[in-house]
Symmetry: C2
Subunit: 780 residues, 2 copies
Amino acid sequence: MATLSDIGLAAAINILTAFAFFIAFAILRIQPVNDRVYFPKWYIKGLRSNPLSTGAFVGKFVNLDFRSYVNFLNWMPAALQMPEPELIDHAGLDSAVYLRIYLIGLKIFVPIAFLAFSILVPVNWTNSTLERSNLTYSDLDKLSISNIPRGSRRFWTHLVMAYVFTFWTCNVLKTEYEIVAKMRLHFLASEKRRPDQFTVLVRNVPPDPDESVSELVEHFFLVNHPSDYLTYQVVYNANELSNLVNKKKKMKNWLDYYQIKYSRNQSRKPSLKVFIVDDILLKSPTGFLGLFGNRVDAIDHYTSEIEKLSREISLERDKIVNNPKSIMPAAFVSFKTRWGAAVCSQTQQSRNPTVWLTEWAPEPRDVYWDNLAIPFVSLTLRRLVIAVAFFFLAFFFMIPIAFVQSLANIEGIEKALPFLKTIIEKKVVKSFIQGFLPGIALKIFLIFLPSILMLMSKFEGFISLSSLERRSATRYYIFQFINVFLGSIITGTAFQQLDNFIHQSATQIPKTVGVSIPMKATFFITYIMVDGWAGVAGEILRLKPLIIYHLKNFFMVKTEKDRKEAMDPGTLGFNTGEPQIQLYFLLGLVYAVVSPILLPFIIVFFALAYVVYRHQIINVYNQEYESAAAFWPDVHGRIIVAVIVSQLLLMGLLSTKEAAQSTPLLITLPVLTIWFHMFCKGRYEPAFVRYPLQEAMMKDTLERAREPNLNLKSFLQNAYIHPVFKGEDDSDSDEAPEEFEKEPDLVPTKRQSRRNTPLPSKHSGSASSSMREAQDYPLL
Amino acid sequence: MATLSDIGLAAAINILTAFAFFIAFAILRIQPVNDRVYFPKWYIKGLRSNPLSTGAFVGKFVNLDFRSYVNFLNWMPAALQMPEPELIDHAGLDSAVYLRIYLIGLKIFVPIAFLAFSILVPVNWTNSTLERSNLTYSDLDKLSISNIPRGSRRFWTHLVMAYVFTFWTCNVLKTEYEIVAKMRLHFLASEKRRPDQFTVLVRNVPPDPDESVSELVEHFFLVNHPSDYLTYQVVYNANELSNLVNKKKKMKNWLDYYQIKYSRNQSRKPSLKVFIVDDILLKSPTGFLGLFGNRVDAIDHYTSEIEKLSREISLERDKIVNNPKSIMPAAFVSFKTRWGAAVCSQTQQSRNPTVWLTEWAPEPRDVYWDNLAIPFVSLTLRRLVIAVAFFFLAFFFMIPIAFVQSLANIEGIEKALPFLKTIIEKKVVKSFIQGFLPGIALKIFLIFLPSILMLMSKFEGFISLSSLERRSATRYYIFQFINVFLGSIITGTAFQQLDNFIHQSATQIPKTVGVSIPMKATFFITYIMVDGWAGVAGEILRLKPLIIYHLKNFFMVKTEKDRKEAMDPGTLGFNTGEPQIQLYFLLGLVYAVVSPILLPFIIVFFALAYVVYRHQIINVYNQEYESAAAFWPDVHGRIIVAVIVSQLLLMGLLSTKEAAQSTPLLITLPVLTIWFHMFCKGRYEPAFVRYPLQEAMMKDTLERAREPNLNLKSFLQNAYIHPVFKGEDDSDSDEAPEEFEKEPDLVPTKRQSRRNTPLPSKHSGSASSSMREAQDYPLL
């Protein structure tokens, strides 16, 4: 049992660590040479093109103005100064709302901590249960619920406090949901014209023997949305092309590398060894494969390779555009008005609900192109597979790791790679391997976990990056809940817990977990300091991007444009960041009644994280997409889950404390909370899922009044082209877009049976064309 | 333990009872005097106006054609002859699809019974576990899974059979879902023009200080659906009026009664005693209150009363039409096209998702008028209240009944009503009260249960009779599942079960229930025969409507029209009938693997019920509404629940039989079944919830081609008027409808701030009016 002074020491160490990070950051960030690592956002926005240097040559790399070293924390007030509307303008709504999660943390926990310390702590402290018992205990435990004797009337305080805390949390949640919903609607309403406002993504276009996908889409929407339909953009299967383009980009990087190497040392022409294995060209400038093969001139080699690839790319491009099979059964359909798009995205188009699936198109940069063509049956199957896979991942992930650990012992390595025997047998190496390898296997798994979860979401078939991240975040939260939260409270692997739980009664589970909670308070305090405080402080240092940027800058940067590309601003990383915050909500709410001593640590985390991430959002991160805070219902839902978990665990804990008369009162709490959640869902969630017609109509009307002669078609024509077709940095891609502008306004039907009928009139409102359509889709 | 011969005897008794019912029915139905009881449907449809009599005077009442008595079962083939499309035409899609539930029962259980008897029964029978054990057992038990020794390899047969049965059931369910979805779409597509196709119900019209509800609705839809909006119909709060009208109808019945009495016995003018208590006129022609008061002429009295009420009604009617406060914040909004209505019903209108709630309007006769004005917050609160109330009803309903039973003993009655003491003290009466009263309290509760559940649904705020019935059916099913199914398997009240269950582990519950299942087979066989067979046979006799019709016919019928009203065809009663069928599905699926002997009894039930209900639907029932089989997703979902319950219980049973190696294989079954359900939900359910735009557009286009000059507005104008305003049988209601036709085509805005702007142009597409609207609904 840790004493107060133990915790104090740990806190001091962690505070010092955090300070060390901050000082390092303060020094590194004002060096002009690091400017692009710590302020990339400003470069990307075009507001800064050169570091603010002190003039002299050295001043271009090192900051010589010693005054700027004095106030090493002055970035903090600077980060807080920017008002929210400006922040939304600067970094987007997603980022601004993301920061509100930390603010909610403060709004919930500061009053709760105040109440807990002024009411609960005295109530707990003024007992002597622990003193009279034979248990070892610390001052910390005297502050917690453990110090209350069994069946004491003092538990009524905790019960009332549980109500107060729940009420307060729900109150904050409701207010925030309302604010965020308004912010989202305001953001959508005040946004400038964007292609996704007019566009709907249509998936599962049914196959048709007589007509191509393009013709089918054109016909279908001309008939069923006659007054609003404008144009469409088919989706090409350009995965192969995008591979080639990526390959070319890599080659170019190597070319740049060798050209710089040559320009620095003109005496020696760089060369590399090339050898041919089964028609696959393996190039290895470094590494042990570089030992064999023919030595060639590196610059010449890459130049010719790039030329070859350019030719391949243009061939592939032609193939995609001309081959109807490369058109996927999906399309981006654009409408003349936002109203038309809102209508189409919210309604069911066809009598078969698995074809002509329409949904609001994500932003062009938010689209995840690979998943656009997955058919409905496959989607449901994928969902089943991933659900089962995730279940096993969450509960049984220790099994393969234990297997790897058992392999990764000295004997296993010696067997597999006998030539390493001499090195391994050295004592230092041996003890290192024996001590660290098992831990490393687990650590590597945990590092790769977000990527694994992201892969799962991709396999599941989501079509936008934002939804991929949201789903991954949900899974990551569940994983953390099971393996970090429950796993720390009840020792044993997740599988053992599962086994315990299904053999325990529904009332026993909260008891089992609830009883262990007070004992784990010190563990979680340490966890918050190491993972939370130090983690946040480390975040601001950006050690990894710093190193990579300088390596790239040294080896590959030729022009300013290259330097711009070498910057890696990174993103907020919703899929990993948000579940981590949620864990702190969970801890805070669970311990609020049980051991209030935890709360100050959580408050420090939220405050620190708020400042740091606000700084990062202003100066560093560059969001890949803008979902207009579409993730808020998830955030809200997970905090609600935390509230309910805390209530159930308190119920379990109190029932072991023989305060059984409180059970009925405690049962009503989760019921009320669930009802509150349902109320919020009905009241606010639609704002995050649907686009109200009133809003759409209003924006349409305003626009029509302001710009009566707007040519919307040309604005929308190329908005949803696969990024490889756009390729601004690719000189030979300029021809491509024209291909997409040639779509005829009207596609004559190609149906065999109807070849001899006259061409349909343009507007399907007339009887003839719709009658034809009616016949084409017979009644049963 | 019942033996085979016991079951045989019970079956014989029940078969005889059923036959007795059938013979009674066969005799009663061919009497011309009962014609309106057994063939009301034909009278309502206007296909029959007089019983087919044999000519003579007596023949008008009694059938003298003795040949027709011979083939007393000839109604059965007659009921089966009508083909399904004709049945849909004759009785509506709801009824036709309702019959398919019985057919599904046959489709599922006939092949399963065949397989079970050819494979499972021999496997069970050829063991000797029971013979060797000391337990008493019957031949019936030898056919069941109880006869297999612990840990036997023969359990693999049951496992495989569980897979086969699940697969077969899912297969039938999928096929049926597909067929019913197609039937529904075809029905909707081939329907003739109906007001609800063009109409959307708008609820929660937000209050506005400057404009009335009518103006607000008109403005909102003119602006947001400019091209399709046609007209609207506000909803009046006519509950008071409808009370008055009902009162008048009752008075009229009494007047008729006395007039007939007088015409039969002209010597004595009928009179009744009237006395005044606190301004309330108590009239009691019979009963003990009739002993006091002034004797007046009955016919004069009722005539004057009716006149008085007529005046009140016309006053109230004027009040409603002229008082803006009697307009509820809801409206039926009609569109020019089905497409427009489909769009409006499927989209969100306002940025605040709790106002301007639109949904597809129910049929005019399906509307439940009282609930149209419940605000959103109240709705969510009501849902919470009802959820909690139903929980207590389902688990604790025995408590008040036990309380009533404890009151309703001899001493309690003597105390409350001392003057009955002399009667009660008689021995016969005493033993009757002591023996029956406690049972009667429970029986009365069970009789009133459907009404209680219906009241709950009404309180919850559903706005159509069909949705009220669907919700009541769900609750009734849950109640039956807990109290009949579980309650019979594990003895004890529902509350005791609940208490057991929450103290048992998740794996223990299926074990506890599963183990008791084989032992209860004989009980459920008896239950099926008494409740199922005899119940169905009793249904066709229609004893209650028969008696009531003849009473009414004798006392109150003056004209043919009165006689028509005296007919009570009744309805299918989805809210009680469907949950009962579902109980048989549950029993059949649970016992299919465990005790296949139950299956033939269930098959007989389904076959019998199918024939009987087909007859009743053709000849008797008159549906109050037509929901186009909107209940099918519920039916499907409950059968899926039954499948999953059967799988879990089998898992529990097998785990006690030490066939643990089968557990992983058994766990995958519910997972697959749930996935199958999700697949079906995505694939077919939208057809029951939304109206595809393609369909709407097709029907619109066809109609426009056929009837280019249709005046839709006049067709829709009075479709959604509260039934009391229509009142065809009320002479003084003729003036009212005109009031509703005077709605101006355009409502000038009344907003104070904009009085001085010119009148808005008619189409909101123009900038001025929409800009105004945009200002009226400011951005935040």
